[in-house]
């Protein structure tokens, strides 16, 4: 009996408790033996680098993924969440990072989306009642947003608030906010955070607040957990934590085989690319960086810091005006991928799906870059024999394991696909500079190490330069000669190899918090 009573007390204390949760994906352990308690009526912030397992954790809570091992308890009762609808019925609701509203419907209609009220005649929607009820809910939450205007005419922060109102349209006990401030402007963030705090005070609800912005987390949270490599490193009351300790906890243990880096040779080599201010996405961006011959330069920043956008603009994949790009001493005005490839620059995109034709053969995927050279005559017939030779050549040179050159490229492992993409680019005559956007994402450790070696090899033995974009600091630190830090679309800091210091770099990327 006594045990039962303590159990009951526990029930009130803990809204959610997970025990030894594990979730594996091919090649990675996304969540590794994680235990966590979310207390009653608290804002529990989860912070961690990209890939630390924050979003996988949320997806386990909302039933998008199923855990491989471990248990979940909601109010002390063991639960098993099958899908998002199941999570909602159990009182867990998530506000996703991407807006999940319908733009042409007004606020009230969006709040009642999927729960529409039907008029007495059982035929039509009762728009009037929907609006009234939605307004009641808005009043009870004390939010001031218009609900009779189509969402597309509202500010982003107002759209966000409407999504939050929607998450209170029902009896939810646990609210998960995934990077809720990422789409908000500078001035909207403060009031929004205050709103979250007030909601928590007035309503009987616990909130999981996911973010990688330290400043926000320190402001809004009651408790903070730090995730690293799918593990929970610390959970503490905010009052007991300092930003310094959080940063230290966020740093991952080095899992990378040390890559041999020959130093200093490049320091005097000539600059092949120099970039200043550029206009794209309707803003001016301060991209002060240069790339020398024979060096690997890392671009580090958190998600949304504008690294990918920057190279896409330089590569000509998005319109870019008033550019200040100097390539090999020549000013580049309107760049297009074709122009850049001819000038010796190639981009290996973030999504591997953007680099390959999945259902096409190895041969076709390799030769697509060289069809001009491989075809002859007025109608440009492809010389199939030479095409195959070239494909074999590339595959041998890059040490790729394959069964036939006409097999579909999607049958290769991710690491080998990436090697094909890099290998074929090497065959382009005069290629000098690689932009590699997250080239190791989704690969297992062995394949990652292979790619690192390929990169150093390219720089040291083949005189190429590489821009290495990554969200994983350890790999950048072990492979790169220099590092540029991105934040909000701009280059904000620069480190050379001898200045590399994890905490300093992470601090710069997190921005503004001492």
């Amino acid at each position: 009996m006594k045990a039962n009573i303590t159990n009951k007390n526990n029930m009130i204390k803990n809204v959610l408790m997970v025990k030894n949760l594990t979730k594996k994906f091919p090649g990675v352990i996304a969540i590794n033996n994680l235990s966590l308690e979310i207390g009653h009526n608290e804002i529990h912030a989860i912070i961690g680098e990209n890939g630390a397992g924050k979003s996988t954790f949320c997806k386990l809570l909302t039933g998008i993924y199923q855990a491989d091992e471990g248990e979940m308890y909601l109010f002390g009762k063991k639960i098993n969440i099958k899908n998002p609808a199941d999570a909602i019925s159990k009182g867990i609701n998530m506000v996703y990072q991407e807006r999940n509203s319908i733009n042409f419907l007004n606020g009230a209609q969006n709040i009642y989306l999927g729960k529409e009220l039907i008029a007495n005649n059982r035929l039509f929607l009762d728009e009037k009642k929907i609006y009234e009820k939605a307004c009641e809910l808005r009043e009870s939450l004390g939010i001031d947003v218009p609900l009779n205007v189509p969402l597309e005419d509202l500010k982003v922060s107002h759209q966000q608030m409407i999504e939050i109102i929607r998450s209170f349209n029902g009896n939810y006990k646990l609210l998960i906010l995934d990077e809720p401030t990422s789409s908000l402007g500078e001035k909207e963030i403060g009031p929004f955070l205050d709103f979250i705090i007030r909601i928590k005070k007035e309503r009987d609800v616990s909130i999981i607040f996911i973010s990688h912005k330290l400043e926000e987390v320190m402001y809004v949270a009651d408790k903070i957990s730090v995730f690293t490599n799918g593990k929970k490193v610390i959970t503490e009351d905010k009052v007991n934590l300092t930003p310094k300790r959080i940063i230290k906890a966020m740093l991952r243990k080095d899992l990378i085989e040390s890559v041999e880096v020959k130093q200093n040779e490049h320091i005097k080599s000539k600059i092949i690319l120099k970039v200043g201010k550029c206009n794209y996405d309707g803003e001016e961006h301060n991209l002060d960086f240069y790339i020398r011959e024979k060096e690997v330069v890392g671009f580090y920043g958190l998600v949304g810091s504008g690294r990918t956008e920057c190279i896409e603009a330089i590569y000509g994949l998005k319109p870019c005006e008033n550019t200040d790009i100097v390539l090999n001493g020549e000013k580049i005005n309107k760049s297009t991928p074709i122009k850049m490839i001819n000038k010796g620059v190639i981009l290996i995109p973030e999504e591997r799906a953007h680099a390959i034709f999945r259902t096409y053969s190895l041969t076709e995927n390799i030769s697509i870059l060289f069809l001009k050279k491989l075809s002859s005559g007025l109608l440009e017939f492809i010389k199939f024999k030479e095409e195959k030779e070239l494909a074999k050549n590339v595959l041998e040179k890059s040490n790729i394991v394959y069964s036939a050159i006409d097999q579909e490229i999607q049958k290769l492992s991710g690491g080998n696909q990436q090697k094909v993409v890099i290998g074929r680019s090497l065959e382009i005559k005069g290629i000098k500079l690689f932009f590699m956007d997250e080239p190791t994402r989704g690969l297992d450790m062995g394949a990652k190490n292979d790619i690192y070696k390929v990169m150093r090899d390219l720089a040291e033995k083949q005189n190429k330069s590489i821009v290495f974009i990554s969200s994983e600091l350890p790999e950048l630190i072990s492979v790169c000669d220099r590092l540029y830090i991105f934040s909000e679309g701009n280059v904000i800091k620069h480190f050379t190899r001898n200045e590399f210091d994890k905490s300093a770099i992470l601090k710069a990327a997190l921005g503004g918090c001492n």
Binding site: I341, F357, S367, I368, E380, F381, I382, E396, V401, S403
Partner: protein, 329 residues
């Protein structure tokens, strides 16, 4: 580092790849057994002749569908080119046949360029842009013909020769044109750089632009070839019928689309291709001809063709477990 793996024979895959050929084979055997005159060489050539118009049109639309776009205007385009050729040939002092064919085909290409402009520069979805132009062209055709059947007594004999003539007294000229068109388009798409680029753009336009392919240029080429082949089909259609009716091209539009859809199941399931489209068109022609031969009711043709389209694409969809991106509109 080649891994030596014994290739396992994959029945499912084999069935998917060659379903279309098997269908045409079994359907032909069925009709051949039931009606001996179906087997005669004359009849076989006649089948190919009747398939040539739909075949040429489906070659045209294959170009746009391979490139990941769609061209609804091929039907109206066929009528339009027939009326241009017919109208020009009716002028007594302007009857240089080859020159007029050339002018007509140039017109077709210009229509293709207009489609490309609407879709790629202005940004109207291909389905709507080509549908709009199709309606517009039909209107112009009706204006020129006055709404009725158009023919001219002073047409040179060569005009009807193209559709009704025979080579060596046995092979219908449309059959020869059809084969030439097929061979050109097949070699063009499967063997040349441009052809490879058209496939690449259709498979993944993002990747295509990443590897330095000018996506808009390639899609423009596809639209132009689509209209070109439709225009060619129109001239032959007018010549075969010996007169031009508004809407005659539209009658072949849906069969041409379904031939291409059938063709998308051939060899590379999910991707339209020229050889498949041609076989698809021939299958439809075999069914039409065979049903007439065995004296089936007039509605049977549509019922059977509809069935074959649903079943063949359905089989491929199940084999590929759901996604048939190339075949969807």
């Amino acid at each position: 580092m080649k891994k030596n793996l014994l290739k396992k024979f994959d029945t499912k895959k084999f069935f998917g790849k060659y379903f279309l050929l098997m269908a045409i084979f079994f359907v032909s055997v069925f009709f051949g057994l039931k009606e001996p005159s179906f087997r005669q060489i004359d009849n076989i050539l006649d089948i190919i002749r009747s398939g040539s118009i739909i075949g040429l049109m489906s070659i045209g639309i294959s170009y746009t569908m391979i490139a990941g776009e769609f061209d609804f205007s091929i039907g109206a385009m066929a009528t339009f080119s027939a009326i241009i050729a017919g109208k020009l040939l009716a002028y007594p002092n302007f009857n240089n046949f080859l020159l007029i064919i050339f002018i007509t085909l140039m017109f077709s290409c210009i229509i293709g360029l207009i489609n490309a402009f609407n879709v790629l520069v202005i940004g109207i979805p291909a389905f709507i842009a080509t549908l709009g132009l199709s309606i517009l062209l039909n209107g112009i055709t009706k204006y020129i013909t006055g709404g009725g059947v158009f023919y001219a007594l002073n047409w040179p004999k060569t005009f009807v020769l193209l559709g009704q003539g025979m080579m060596f007294k046995v092979i219908p000229i449309p059959v020869i044109i059809f084969f030439l068109g097929f061979f050109f388009a097949w070699a063009h798409t499967e063997r040349t750089k441009t052809g490879r680029y058209i496939f690449a753009v259709g498979a993944n336009s993002v990747t295509a632009s990443h590897v330095g392919i000018n996506v808009k240029k390639i899609k423009t080429i596809a639209f132009v070839f689509s209209s070109f082949f439709a225009g060619f089909a129109g001239i032959i259609l007018g010549s075969t019928l010996g007169s031009i009716t508004p809407g005659m091209g539209d009658g072949n539009l849906l069969p041409a689309i379904s031939a291409t859809m059938l063709g998308a199941t051939f060899l590379r399931p999910g991707t339209p291709n020229i050889a498949g489209s041609v076989i698809g068109a021939l299958l439809l022609a075999v069914i039409t001809n065979g049903l007439t031969m065995i004296g089936a009711s007039f509605y049977m043709k549509d019922i059977i063709q509809g069935f074959i389209l649903l079943i063949s694409v359905g089989i491929i969809a199940t084999i590929k477990e759901g996604k048939l991106s190339g075949v969807s509109l």
